[in-house]
Symmetry: C2
DNA sequence: TAGATTGTTAATCGATTAACAATC
DNA sequence: TAGATTGTTAATCGATTAACAATC
């Protein structure tokens, strides 16, 4: 019916930053904020702040600015934070366990409800009350529990195999930490996190400095 | 003297992806590649591949394409992978320990040489042969060892304090995992990793799908 | 030499910034 | 009402794509 106008990915990436800063403002008891205030804290122009919000219809009032509480809530809705998203972690290695122990995700309504691995010696262990189960029982688990997102923290070599299984089980969101760009069918959303890519960008930026100063 | 032309950050972010794919090609024994081949694998246009490399003068030959070995090496140089970068981890919590155990970074010439924390009970422990030391001894450590990069994996509440110390010690690169955007003086390069931001972007992309299909 | 593919310039597209009328 | 600040359009800037001459 109403054809959704595509919002640029660059805008979407800025939303969590707005959200984080609004959370701070709320905690400090500040109730009103202008595009100029926000822009200073976030390091963009006031124009961009207004333009970003304009993509969603605009959340402010002329002459006043934005209501912190309301803006926080609306951005949260856009990002899907108003309802809990359930996650399973595939791969209980160092990174998988660290992510399971991380408490920040739940604050943002992303909750881990199961961890899966193939190493028999750790099956049955619990991390923050979340059980480590055998990868073979993932299928049953998904049938009995609603799972929104699978987090892939297996080695590069098994990532593709795991991806296939996950897609077959009908999971629609994937957060991939294996150092390979996973691609799936159109209805599956994949976010690839490449930690060493980011480290290399840091390496470049550090090296480049002397040149730009000339 | 020669004023370096600024290369866009978007180009730099693509370099690690080229690099990863070239590593694969090398491993498969492939010696030659064209901009068209690369573009297909990486999901960009051939034009963009050539334009990206043109920023650095171009690495190919007309009528032939690119020599895999040479291109791999040149991109590695740009990213600063030809010499070892030393790193310390500040904060030996779940994430800090997981990063210390991660072996991929060393393959890219980023080597962790020390881990620091303030909790007395874990001081002296070793992770993959890397000692956990008291945060108070960081200053001495930096005097005796060349440290390129500090990885911040402390809670949000102590991140700013840690940042101050690190900057005073003269460390020039910071890889920050605390959920706050750290900013430092111009000569210090900071890469902020916000895992939950990425999760929220995934959340948005999953939600948005039904609309775009209308 | 003929064919292929780059290097490089020009055209297009999209994102950011500026401007200002609308309005609280 | 006057002042402030948004919503929204227009102008600018930068990134991507297209085109093609250079050349291996």
């Amino acid at each position: 019916m109403s054809v959704e106008i595509k919002v640029s990915g660059l805008v979407i990436k800025r939303l969590p930053r707005y959200y984080r800063y609004l959370t701070n403002l709320k905690q400090m008891g500040i109730t009103r904020v202008t595009s100029s205030d926000l822009s200073k804290k976030i390091g963009v122009t006031p124009s961009q702040v207004r333009q970003d919000f304009f993509n969603f219809g605009g959340f402010g009032m002329q002459g006043y600015g934005y209501d912190v509480e309301f803006l926080h809530q609306e951005i949260g809705k856009i990002l899907g934070l108003n309802e809990m998203n359930t996650m399973v972690i595939i791969g209980a290695g160092n990174l998988g366990q660290a992510l399971a122990k991380h408490e920040n995700f739940e604050k943002r309504s992303f909750k881990t409800i199961g961890i899966f691995d193939t190493r028999d010696d750790i099956i049955g262990e619990q991390i923050r009350g979340i059980e480590i189960m055998h990868f073979g029982s993932l299928s049953d688990f998904v049938k009995n529990n609603h799972v929104d997102i699978a987090i892939i923290t297996v080695p590069k070599t098994s990532a593709c195999e795991v991806l296939d299984t996950i897609i077959k089980l009908g999971i629609k969101g994937i957060w991939n930490f294996a150092p390979i760009d996973l691609v799936g069918p159109g209805e599956v959303e994949i976010e690839n996190i490449h930690l060493s890519d980011s480290l290399m960008v840091l390496g470049y930026n550090m090296k480049k400095k002397p040149f730009t100063q000339m």
